[in-house]
Subunit: 232 residues, 2 copies
C-alpha cells in the first residue's frame, strides 16, 4: 500500500514525504473481515487507528447486553486517539485500556495502527499536527454532545433528525432520499434503541406519509412534517 494514503488523513496532510515514510514504516497495516472485533474495551491500549478502507463501529455494551454505537468511522478518519492524548501529561507506560469496543463492518476493512511512541515522536516535531488533532477532538466532542442531546428525545424524533441530517450530507441537490450504508440493527443501536422499536417508528412515519422505506433506501415525502417531528 502506498504511504501517500496518509496524505488523505486530515491529521497528517501537512507532513512531508520523509515524515510520512517514518510513520508508515513504524506502523502496522491490518485487514479485518466483516464483523471482526478490532479491540475490546477491556484490552490494554496500543495506539490509535486510521481507517483506509471499509468502516468501523465504536460501541459500548451495557450490563444487560444492549449495544450502543457511539461512532461510525469511515476512510481517512482516526479512532481511539483519546487515551493517547489523555495520557500525554502522565507516565506514558500507564496501563490504559481502550475506551470502547471497535468492530469492522465490512469485509477487507483496512486499518493502520499508529503506536503511541510513533505518534509521540511525530508530535514532538510538528506543531500543526497538534492543532489539527485538537480540532478533531473538539469536533468529536461536539458530536458526542449532539448524541447526548438526541438520546434525550423520543425515538421518532431521533429518527426524523437522523434522516434529515443524512439528507443534508447528500451533496447532489435534488436527492430526495437517503441510502443507509449500515444495517437496521446498527442504526437502531446508533439511535440508542432496538430493532423492533426502530421498525415500528419507521412504519409510523411511513403511515403518516412522511417517508417511504424501501430496504436501505428511505425516500423523503414530506420534509416539512419530518422537520416538525424532529424539532417538536
Amino acid at each position: 500500500m502506498d504511504k501517500n494514503i496518509l496524505k488523505n488523513v486530515n491529521l497528517f496532510s501537512d507532513l512531508n514525504e520523509e515524515e510520512l515514510g517514518k510513520i508508515f514504516s513504524h506502523s502496522d497495516i491490518r485487514t479485518f473481515g466483516k464483523g471482526e472485533m478490532i479491540f475490546f474495551d477491556t484490552e490494554p491500549y496500543q495506539g490509535f487507528y486510521i481507517v483506509i478502507e471499509g468502516s468501523v463501529k465504536i460501541f459500548k455494551i451495557s450490563k444487560d447486553g444492549r449495544e450502543h454505537i457511539m461512532h461510525f468511522i469511515y476512510p481517512f478518519n482516526t479512532f481511539a486517539e483519546v487515551p493517547l492524548l489523555e495520557q500525554y501529561e502522565k507516565i506514558r507506560n500507564d496501563k490504559f485500556t481502550y475506551p470502547a469496543n471497535a468492530m469492522s463492518l465490512e469485509k477487507d476493512t483496512k486499518l493502520i495502527l499508529i503506536r503511541a511512541n510513533t505518534f509521540y515522536n511525530i508530535v514532538e516535531k510538528n506543531r500543526e499536527i497538534c492543532l489539527k488533532m485538537m480540532s478533531g477532538l473538539a469536533k468529536r466532542l461536539r458530536h458526542l454532545n449532539g448524541y447526548i442531546e438526541s438520546i434525550m428525545q423520543d425515538v421518532p424524533k431521533r429518527i426524523a433528525k437522523f434522516i434529515l441530517t443524512e439528507q443534508n450530507k447528500m451533496s447532489t441537490e435534488n436527492k430526495n432520499h437517503i441510502e443507509l450504508n449500515i444495517s437496521k440493527h446498527d442504526l437502531a443501536a446508533y439511535l440508542g434503541t432496538i430493532d423492533e422499536t426502530l421498525s415500528r417508528a419507521l412504519k409510523k412515519l411511513q403511515e403518516e406519509n412522511m417517508i417511504v422505506v424501501e430496504g436501505k433506501i428511505i425516500k423523503i415525502r414530506d420534509k416539512a412534517a419530518l422537520m416538525k417531528v424532529a424539532s417538536g
Copy 2:
C-alpha cells in the same frame, strides 16, 4: 484580583509572568449571582471561561423543557473551549454559538472570560499549552463517554454509581458519607432524570438499608450492596 490566579488553571500553569499578564489584561472578570445565566446555547460565541470562585452548570434543555446537566465546573477549570478549538482551522470570524447553556450555581461566582483572539495569540507561541489543552479535551471526552454509558442504565444504578464515585473523591480515609454540594434538582438533571424519580430511588435504597439520606448528607451503610446495585 491577582493575575497569578491563572497559575492554578491547569492550562496556563507553565506560562511565565509576562504571558500571564498579557492574558489577564486582555480578559474580563465577571461576577454572577446564584442562578444567573452566563450564556445561552443560542448566543454567539465570544470566548471560553475560567471559574475562579463558585461553580457553574453546563446544560441543555430538551424540547419538552427538561434540563440535562452535562457538566459541573469548579474553580480553576475551564468551559466552552470547544467552539474555539474546533474553529481553529476555519475562518476565525465564523458565527459560532455556544454549544450549551451555562448557569452560575452560587452567589459571587467569579469567572474570567478569555476571548478567542487572546487565546489564539497565546497558543501560537506556546506548544505546551496546546498539548495541555488537548489533554483536557481528551479528559472531557472520556467524561462524556462515561456520561453516555451511565444514562444507558437504570436510575438506581446511576445513583449508586454516583454515590460511590463521590465517596471515592473524599480524600479523608474513613468518610462513610458524601455531601451534596448541589440541589437534588440539579442532581436529578445530572443523572438524566427528574426530581420525583430521584427521590423515590433514594428512598428505595434507604429502605433497603444501603444508605441514609439526611438532607444534603448521604451516609453509606452497606457499601457492598451499593456496589452490587451500581454494577449489576
